[in-house]
Subunit: 260 residues, 2 copies
């Protein structure tokens, strides 16, 4: 590397976002994702229900030496488990999903992820299966959406290519001017809620809403659940706020014991 390039050398492990592949179909694509990740200094790969067996020889071949990423990959049965320890999660989508969400370009998302990494916040990016992307339930779990604006006449992006584009923006954002995004200021006595804590709130609220009949329409239930989760996913809740909201649910429900 030349002298000018040396200044760009960055620790590959510097709090980059986790890359979460939901139901990836081909081992070869997982390998290409690993290679693209390491190109961009990302190493935290998480797989939710990969279709082929794991570990996978075709993945190793396609990774072209990015073995450390494959070796460190973790497997999960559910998207919620794969993101449980993360604070801020982006979902990649090719099209709008009829949800109220913050939508970022890859460059805006990269600036945001860099800003969060600088404060030690754990982040991740969800990528869907090759053929059809993420389903709406997975998108609802994310705090924001990132979409790659490409040729509208031919926008279908290979999975590894999608990871590379976002990874490249992450990597090159290290040199960009500091983002001008409003900063979320959190009181010292608390911290951002993890996805696992959010999931606990969802489970609690949905359980009570099943009991009281709010979700009794089986056909409407999935979209109602998504819409509710989406409100709280978007709100950037603190741990304290999750606790407070669970207290609210408990109190509203327990009133039935105290009154009448």
């Amino acid at each position: 590397m030349s002298g000018t390039d040396r200044s760009r050398e960055r620790c590959p492990d510097a709090a980059g976002p986790a890359v979460v592949l939901v139901e990836p179909q081909l081992g070869e694509n997982i390998g290409m994702v690993a290679r693209a990740m390491l190109n961009c200094g990302l190493t935290d790969l998480r797989l939710v229900r990969p279709r082929e067996i794991w570990p996978n020889d075709k993945a190793v071949a396609a990774a072209s030496g990015a073995d450390r990423v494959l070796d460190g990959a973790r497997l999960y049965g559910r998207t919620a488990d794969a993101i449980a320890d993360l604070v801020h999660v982006y979902a990649t989508t090719a099209r709008p999903r009829d949800m109220t969400k913050r939508l970022a370009s890859p460059r805006a998302a990269a600036a945001d992820l860099r800003a969060r990494a600088a404060t030690g916040e754990a982040t991740g990016i969800l990528f869907g299966r090759e053929a059809c992307g993420l389903d709406n339930d997975d998108v609802a779990l994310a705090q924001a959406v990132v979409t790659v604006p490409l040729n509208p006449g031919f926008s279908s992006l290979n999975l590894g290519m999608a990871v590379l584009l976002i990874g490249w923006e992450w990597y090159s954002a290290a040199e960009a001017a500091p983002p001008t995004v409003p900063e979320l200021v959190i009181p010292e006595q608390t911290r951002p809620a993890t996805q696992a804590e959010l999931q606990g709130l969802y489970d609690h609220l949905e359980g009570e809403l099943d009991t009281c009949g709010f979700l009794r329409n089986a056909q409407a239930r999935p979209s109602m659940v998504r819409n509710l989760r989406n409100v709280f996913a978007r709100a950037a809740l603190t741990q304290q706020e999750v606790r407070t909201l669970r207290g609210v649910v408990t109190c509203l429900v327990e009133a039935r014991h105290l009154k009448r």
Copy 2:
């Protein structure tokens, strides 16, 4: 695509640089290059001495529908012939070549290529063979060099990925001021809630929380109310979501009439 995205649609053929692959080794990689090119609105593919026969079935399979790029690809015996009609040519290299050349990042090269396209100047980008890149004779033919700064510990980029990165920068350089802040996208059938609607939610929720005793500590009440309001104020709720949340409160509370 939403209304804001529609402005990003651009003619795929708007004077993009030619992509010149010098001695590409694998048909599959040529196909991935074609796909990445069309993703980014590039269509002028030129091949110098491809190793495998041409046309190539593996290229077609890997192109995933970018057939028009493959069908229009032109073959050449020498790099000089492939770039004969071009005015300004970039060579992609992973490392400095001990030549005095202008060296650009992909973003700087993209801005330069856009500026040249605006004046009708024909441009191109040379990419070398998968294993070892361009040889020095080919680099010497180019007016300037573009290098992708990646993880110095793992910078070897797949050929299709390299084309995608440069193509992506070309494509996104069309936007004078790309968005740098995640934008809140709201489905068409609803709209942002007014403050009056939010206030209605607060009154409703706080009234029920007074009833059930959650806010009975008079000293803590003001800050608890503030904290709860803050969660919903921050969430950028839609009118529909306010209605849903009020439905949730009502249902949780009314359970006391139905049960026990």
